[in-house]
């Protein structure tokens, strides 16, 4: 039934348009997914590109699982369907696995190394998956694990882990590194520009390895 079209030649309403680059940023409420999404959005504006995103609100302080969909060069709705994302940036390894079905064949996951153990596992006596078992689930996917915690410590603050992750994922994003870094500087609290610049740069370096 479905007419497959290679990327880059979708034609709607008579206008030629390229397909959007679709990514998810996932994690645990409070880890800074929305700031990371804002930075990507700002970088898109700086490059004069269209962007659409959809956010989870209200969980920031309540430790729930959160997902932000971002469509760079997106012209339509903000939602990304399962099996079609180009990239997943995850701040938590368990969440990387939880949302891994969103990835298309050949897509990439860039994930933090650690997991925040859900409180429900203690309450309900559920087994806490080990990092090894989670990585095993991802084994058939192209993924990169980043030690964002130690990188953020090196940059000067644990709070900069989201920026480390953004730097690490920058190699896969269809945006200039400069646009991302300028957006970081524009959006983080003024007192933390230096730390976050360093965090971004360390992230870029770690992502290369």
């Amino acid at each position: 039934m479905c007419g497959d079209l290679p990327a880059g030649c979708d034609k709607i309403g008579g206008e030629e348009m390229s397909r959007s680059y679709d990514l998810l940023i996932v994690g645990v409420g409070g880890q800074g997914t929305i700031l990371a999404s804002n930075i990507i959005g700002e970088a898109c504006l700086a490059e004069g590109r269209k962007v659409r995103s959809a956010e989870t609100h209200g969980m920031s302080q309540r430790g729930g699982s959160v997902e932000t969909h971002i469509r760079i060069d997106g012209e339509f709705g903000p939602l990304i369907s399962a099996g079609t994302a180009d990239l997943i940036i995850s701040f938590d390894l368990l969440e990387a696995v939880r949302y891994s079905h969103f990835l298309k064949d050949g897509g990439v996951i860039v994930s933090g190394k650690n997991i925040v153990v859900p409180t429900s596992t203690f309450q309900q006596g559920l087994e806490v998956p080990s990092c090894e078992s989670l990585e095993a689930i991802l084994s058939e996917i192209k993924y990169h694990i980043i030690d964002a915690e130690s990188a953020a410590m090196e940059a000067g603050s644990l709070l900069s882990q989201n920026i480390v992750m953004l730097g690490a994922a920058s190699h896969h994003l269809p945006l200039k590194e400069d646009s991302l870094l300028s957006a970081v500087k524009k959006l983080v609290p003024p007192k933390t520009i230096e730390i976050n610049t360093k965090a971004f740069e360390i992230g870029v370096e770690k992502g290369n390895k």
Partner: protein
């Protein structure tokens, strides 16, 4: 003209300012809350804003303002419109003088709601126009038009964004901030504003006479438009039209509905030019029913023949599935085997570390046990479900009323209901008066954290500050409850575990309506105000590994290798230390 990357609700708020908004009121509710929150944050504010105590109150305030000739806005979530339905129905008759826009944000998939109701049905019911934007930019552009449309036809206009517009971000082209503000001037006109039967019969006729002109106007301004491209067509509305545009082949026609009432002649013209039409929309089959009504020869597909789901929200893949069910081709590739990994531990949102509600729930259950019946309400504390402390939740204010109904049903187990301070002030008070009047035997616990926390910490009459940031007298919940005729009114600090247990025991031993006010500021708000408490730690040698503290359910307590430990989330409430039978949890002392 500036282009910004902005949240839908921020873009809507900006559009209101561009449209010379003079007055805004609302009651917080996801996904609508950020509209007024954004208006509150404006550097220069040439307009009035208020957080009202509930949606009916907010609606009537904004309506009164619009009657004085100024432009007014009222915001709420979809279920809030149920509360405001009474004035909505008759304000359609009276009409307005200044532009009056009712923003009612729908929540397909019930991301943060008790149902998936469709505000468009209310617009149809009341016979007021409804604007149904497809994206953030269109929401921005339509909002400005909504005020003019309201003034052109002297009628309230319903504006209906959905979660994926309110909480989406996009590059948005903004206009200039408006500078032409009006001052209210109420001109008496009883035939317009006093709806006695003799007046209302006339007003009803006038309302009906406006309908055709409104429908035609919505086509003229381009909110309802179509493009003929083949023998098969799609009729789509709201954000669903974006998913359709993403996958629709070039030889399929599209009719995009952005506003109601739909001009039926116009729609019939589109439908009749096609052999087959698929209707794609979220929530109710609202457009579909009109399409089916005007279709003669054309085959119609949609929700009613199972092509489009009735429940939940759409996305490109589910829209493609609808095309396929209707026997239509689409562009794009959506793998079918993309299902989530199974067996992962869930990560639901939970009450914060140190949240006073958790401590209150724990003590309540300790005293009233498993047989206690716990009706609850809408707010953060609905998360008490995970602690076994929430037995019912239906709508705002219904904890006390459902509770008194159960208490007067012959049910013999004790009824203890919980309700937040903002919800109590919203629609809880009437239930309390009713319970006291009808001699219900129950305990009402007001979870008083001094703020409307769930929706983003909006102030309420309990907070002592208005939406404008002006100080206001803080209400006395104790005096209010006593004035209802209730003699058992006790205020406790939920961090004082022993004191809380004692209060619950006294309530259990007393007949009639008992009120316990559990007062402790929201832990997030307390942290913002700089209130710091010492963290706690577990003395591993003293910990017996009984796991009682883990059952308490605080995210700051972990249980590893048979022993409890406290992590960095600890806010120092100290309740876990009081419930630990070994006394193994202690306050960290600075050395």
């Amino acid at each position: 003209m500036a282009v910004r990357y902005m949240l839908g609700n921020e873009a809507i708020a900006h559009a209101c300012v561009e449209a010379n908004l003079d007055f805004a009121s609302g009651y917080p509710g996801t996904p609508s809350s950020e509209v007024i929150d954004t208006l509150r944050r404006q550097d220069v504010r040439d307009f009035y804003i208020e957080w009202s105590v509930n949606e009916k109150v907010a609606f009537e305030n904004a309506l009164g303002a619009a009657w004085t000739g100024i432009r007014s806005l009222v915001t709420m979530k979809h279920v809030g419109l149920n509360v405001a339905a009474d004035p909505l129905m008759t304000s359609a008759y009276t009409g307005v003088k200044g532009g009056f826009v009712i923003l009612s944000a729908d929540d397909p998939y019930a991301h943060s709601s008790q149902n998936e109701q469709d505000s468009r049905m209310y617009a149809h019911f009341a016979r007021v126009p409804c604007l149904d934007p497809a994206g953030v930019q269109e929401a921005h552009d339509m909002m400005a038009a909504a005020f003019s449309l309201s003034e052109e036809f002297s009628i309230p206009v319903l504006f209906r964004p959905t979660t994926r517009i309110c909480h989406s971000k996009s590059d948005v082209e903004l206009g200039e901030v408006g500078k032409e503000h009006r001052k209210g001037n109420f001109e008496k006109d009883p035939r317009q504003y006093v709806v006695i039967p003799a007046h209302t019969r006339v007003l009803h006729k006038k309302l009906n006479e406006k309908q055709d002109a409104i429908a035609k106007r919505l086509v003229e301004i381009g909110y309802n438009k179509y493009e003929i491209r083949g023998k098969t067509g799609i009729v789509t509305s709201g954000i669903a039209s974006e998913y359709v545009k993403e996958i629709v082949p070039d030889d399929v026609s599209i009719a995009k509905i952005g506003a109601y009432p739909i001009d039926e002649e116009w729609l019939a013209e589109f439908v009749s030019k096609h052999e087959k039409v698929l209707v794609v929309e979220e929530c109710a089959p609202f457009v579909e029913e009109v399409v089916r009504q005007v279709a003669c020869e054309t085959r119609v597909h949609g929700k009613k023949d199972g092509c489009v789901p009735y429940e939940g929200e759409l996305d490109p893949a589910s829209t493609a599935a609808a095309f396929e069910k209707a026997g239509m081709l689409y562009d794009g590739n959506f793998p079918r085997d993309s299902s989530p990994v199974e067996g992962l531990p869930p990560r639901p949102p939970i009450l914060c570390a140190g949240c006073g509600h958790r401590a209150t729930f724990y003590a309540m259950k300790k005293v009233f046990g498993k047989k206690g019946i716990y009706p609850s309400d809408i707010g953060c504390y609905t998360l008490g479900l995970q602690l076994g402390a929430v037995d019912t939740t239906i709508c705002m204010g219904a904890s006390i009323t459902v509770g008194s109904g159960i208490a007067n049903s012959g049910e013999e187990n004790p009824v203890v209901c919980t309700i937040g301070d903002s919800t109590f002030l919203h629609t809880g008070i009437q239930g309390l008066i009713n319970a006291a009047y009808n001699n219900a035997n129950m305990t009402v616990v007001i979870l008083d954290n001094r703020i409307t926390a769930m929706t983003g910490h909006q102030p309420n009459p309990n907070t002592g500050v208005t939406a404008m940031g002006d100080p206001s007298p803080s209400i006395s919940l104790e005096a209010l409850c006593r004035s209802c005729g209730i003699s058992f009114v006790e205020t406790i600090d939920p961090y004082d575990y022993v004191g809380t247990i004692e209060a619950f025991k006294r309530a259990k031993d007393t007949e009639g309506v008992k009120v316990i006010i559990a007062r402790q500021p929201c832990v997030i708000e307390a942290r913002r105000r700089g209130i710091k408490r010492r963290s706690f730690f577990v003395d591993t040698d003293a910990c017996s590994g009984c796991g009682l503290c883990v059952k308490f359910g605080c995210p700051a307590i972990e249980f590893i290798d048979g022993k409890a430990s406290v992590n960095a989330l600890c806010s120092g409430c100290g309740v876990c230390a009081e419930i630990c039978p070994q006394g193994a949890i202690r306050s960290e002392v600075k050395r």
